[in-house]
């Protein structure tokens, strides 16, 4: 078995074109992902002080005070630029401010279009307007309580307590890197398939030669599958290392376990390929097509191209995620990144383990003691 292992490893490492797929393609793809998604979360989701322009058509001391209170300090809501109408419109056109507040008899707002920052700006102005309306209402009906009301309304309410959810980063774009790693794991299916095909007499002359040798088929297949796993694992480890240490994508603190997850996924990918390769009655071309189709299809449903697909399946039909090996591998990385305990991680690992065993067992059953109807 060691002999078979040594030579199958050597053969795989000498396939130059296949080495490109193995190493360069995942690195190129993760670089492309990083360039596209790398700063999306920080730049567009994490709150940053909203730049606004204020055009003071009339004096409004109360509004100025209210605006000042939210424009100071490190956690300021707005960064205010005072300007005239023309200047403000230029700033807005050039996307240097998110909106123009016109302070006149009433407040009004001009924005470029829809968006969350303009909505926050609008909400702040509405809050001021509401407070004004409440005060006017109470002043009209119960003027004796006006001072108390104004004092109560100017206090910070602190009604809302935010519960901590996770230590991990809520960057949803990290999901694409999880999906990429899952795809790298499933790319091992092409190696597993080769391990299967190269040991079948009806699909390869090498397979025929091996079949007539006294080596037990199990030994041949096991050795080849193991070497395929080793080679693909190298690719996985290089990819994980590149994403973590070069691109510096936040995937949690449990770095060693990330590699474990990657290796578990790789084993499943190789096993899946081996099982596909063992399906009787199909040519090698068809099997390769099935392997590619399953890899790409399962990657699609694991959210590699559109993350919302996985989210939708997770809500509407979670079982579908659990039978999709790529989605399960994605979940492994996700659990390590987001959950503190290992419960769900171990659950997913178990599912993956069962899948691997099923693939290997099914593959072995389909090829053992095989005599073919035709060669």
């Amino acid at each position: 078995m060691l002999h078979e292992f040594k030579y199958s490893l050597l053969t795989q490492l000498r396939e130059k074109q296949s080495l490109f797929w193995l190493f360069c393609f995942p690195l190129l793809l993760s670089t492309a992902f990083y360039s596209a998604f790398g700063n999306l979360y920080e730049d567009h989701e994490v709150f940053q002080t909203i730049p606004i322009a204020v055009v003071a058509q009339t004096e409004n001391e109360w509004f100025s005070m209210a605006l000042e209170s939210v424009s100071e300090g490190e956690d300021a809501l707005f960064a205010v630029t005072e300007a005239d109408r023309a200047e403000a419109e230029t700033l807005l056109q050039d996307k240097r401010v998110e909106g123009i507040v016109f302070v006149g008899k009433t407040l009004s707002l001009t924005v470029r279009g829809s968006g969350v920052a303009p909505s926050i700006l609008q909400s702040f102005l509405e809050q001021y307007a509401v407070q004004e309306a409440v005060i006017k209402d109470i002043a009209a009906q119960q003027p004796e309580r006006l001072d108390v009301v104004m004092a109560a309304m100017s206090q910070d309410l602190n009604c809302l307590k935010t519960e901590p959810l996770t230590q991990g980063s809520m960057d949803p774009y990290a999901h694409y890197f999880f999906a990429l790693l899952a795809m790298v794991a499933m790319m091992g299916s092409s190696r597993g398939l080769q391990a299967s095909v190269s040991n079948q007499a009806n699909l390869s002359p090498i397979g025929a030669r091996k079949t007539v040798s006294p080596i037990h088929k199990f030994q041949c297949v096991a050795a080849h599958t193991l070497s395929s796993f080793l080679v693909q694992s190298l690719s996985m480890c290089v990819c994980i290392s590149y994403i973590l240490f070069v691109l510096r994508v936040d995937m949690g603190e449990r770095i060693a376990m990330l590699y474990v997850a990657g290796l578990a996924g790789t084993l499943t990918g190789v096993a899946m390929g081996y099982c596909i390769g063992a399906i009787p009655g199909l040519s090698e071309t068809v099997k390769v097509g099935i392997s590619i189709g399953v890899t790409l299809g399962s990657s699609l449903f694991s959210g590699l191209y559109v993350a919302e697909i996985k989210a939708a399946i997770m809500t509407s039909c979670p079982l579908l995620n659990d039978i999709n090996p790529t989605a399960v591998v994605v979940d492994l990385f996700y659990c390590l990144s987001m959950y503190e305990d290992y419960d769900r991680f171990l659950q997913k690992l178990l599912i993956l383990g069962i899948m691997t065993l099923v693939f290997l067992f099914a593959g072995f059953l389909m090829t053992r003691r095989k005599r073919h109807a035709s060669l």
Binding site: S35, V111, P118, S123, L160, E308
Partner: protein
């Protein structure tokens, strides 16, 4: 035209790959239609908020009514893991729980904690919700202090907290916004990925077969001149490219109905036609340079993903960093997407005929440059082989 006919016959072998790409694209496009909304000026952002009401009082219902006036309410989510999943994937923007005793304690002047939430920390959506919540609860607090009882205060605050601020958008009569929905924009934005994938995956291997040494030598011994062979192969490439383009455009016409036939969609189609031309030339280039199908697959997958990620096909250009955009300007996909934005007024992009023409011309320029390189490589190859 025997070479042309055999080109089509060989191409038939790859029709499954072609249709697979197209089928996946069309399925995704149908999903995109649900995002097909007209961009008509300013609309306040509506968050998706999951609300659990443990208080079940008139006051808590009034709070929910207020929240639902400005946001979408989602069903309560059970379990912290499920909450995390939904927040992570942004299926919901916030998960709010109205604690038991909310009305009672608010009436008594206690404020901590009447409500608990799970959120994406330090996010714009969290800041927006905070602003909305504070608007309402400040009003409730004011009415409570003024002497109203809690339910009355809640109802009154609900009425007072209605929008009062006039919001205008910066008007530009040149903008084309409002005539093409986001679904169609999404369809044409993803088009480069499919065009490159379909054309190169099917046409390049076909050309590789016809240009293999043995086949070419045999063809060169025939009565058909080399230039006629090349012309017939080129004709095959052009016919198939046009056919695929027509199919994809036809699908767009079916999916997007009246949107497709608006005045600016002609610009959209011209833009995509020019890009298709670039894809055709790219196909020819890769057919000349890739030594076999395996290497071809590697190159096309890598090139396609890089062109599309960096050009703003998968991730809108407004989200790409300046560093990336500086590099992207050297890619035809970047100019294709720019042209699409100009033609559709996406993201408030005002119509500018000069800019649009530049985008189209740059794509043509890329196509011409690549075509020249392809010719050079082809001639070099022929000379090398005739000297060998």
């Amino acid at each position: 035209m025997p070479v042309f006919k055999v080109f089509l016959r060989i191409l038939k072998k790859y029709r499954i790959v072609m249709f697979m790409y197209i089928a996946i694209f069309v399925s995704l496009s149908i999903g995109l239609i649900k995002f097909d909304k007209q961009d008509t000026g300013f609309e306040a952002e509506r968050l998706t908020i999951s609300v659990s009401d443990l208080d079940q009082t008139a006051a808590s219902k009034a709070l929910i009514a207020y929240i639902s006036a400005y946001n979408e309410i989602a069903a309560p989510i059970i379990g912290k893991d499920a909450v995390l999943d939904q927040l992570y994937f942004r299926s919901v923007d916030l998960v709010l729980t109205i604690e038991e005793g909310y009305a009672e304690r608010l009436a008594a002047g206690e404020t901590e904690p009447l409500l608990t939430d799970y959120r994406v920390p330090d996010s714009y959506s969290a800041a927006l919700f905070d602003a909305q919540l504070e608007r309402y609860l400040t009003a409730v607090s004011g009415y409570l202090v003024s002497g109203l009882e809690i339910n009355a205060a809640a109802q009154k605050a609900l009425e007072t907290a209605k929008p009062q601020i006039a919001v205008e958008t910066l008007q530009d009569e040149k903008t084309t916004a409002g005539t093409v929905g986001n679904g169609m924009i999404g369809y044409f934005r993803y088009l480069p990925y499919i065009l490159i994938g379909v054309l190169v995956s099917a046409i390049s291997p076909t050309v590789l077969v016809l240009m293999s040494k043995e086949i070419r030598n045999r063809m060169n011994c025939s009565a058909i001149s080399t230039s006629s062979q090349t012309a017939q192969i080129s004709l095959g490439i052009i016919v198939v490219s046009l056919g695929v383009y027509a199919l994809l455009t036809g699908i767009a016409a079916l999916l997007f109905g009246s949107d497709f036939w608006t005045w600016n969609s002609w610009y959209v189609n011209l833009n995509s036609l020019v890009f298709m031309l670039f894809c055709t030339v790219l196909t020819m280039f890769l057919s000349q340079t890739a030594p076999n199908t395996l290497v071809l697959n590697m190159i096309v997958t890598t090139a396609n993903l890089l062109l599309c990620f960096l050009g703003g096909v998968f991730v809108p250009q407004e989200f790409l960093s300046e560093t990336v955009l500086r590099f992207s300007r050297f890619l035809p996909t970047y100019w294709y997407v720019r042209g699409l934005y100009l033609a559709t007024g996406y993201n408030g992009e005002p119509w500018n005929a000069t800019d649009y023409a530049m985008c189209v011309c740059l794509q043509l320029g890329f196509a011409i440059a690549l075509f020249c390189i392809t010719l050079l490589i082809a001639r070099n190859k022929r000379q090398t082989q005739s000297n060998a």
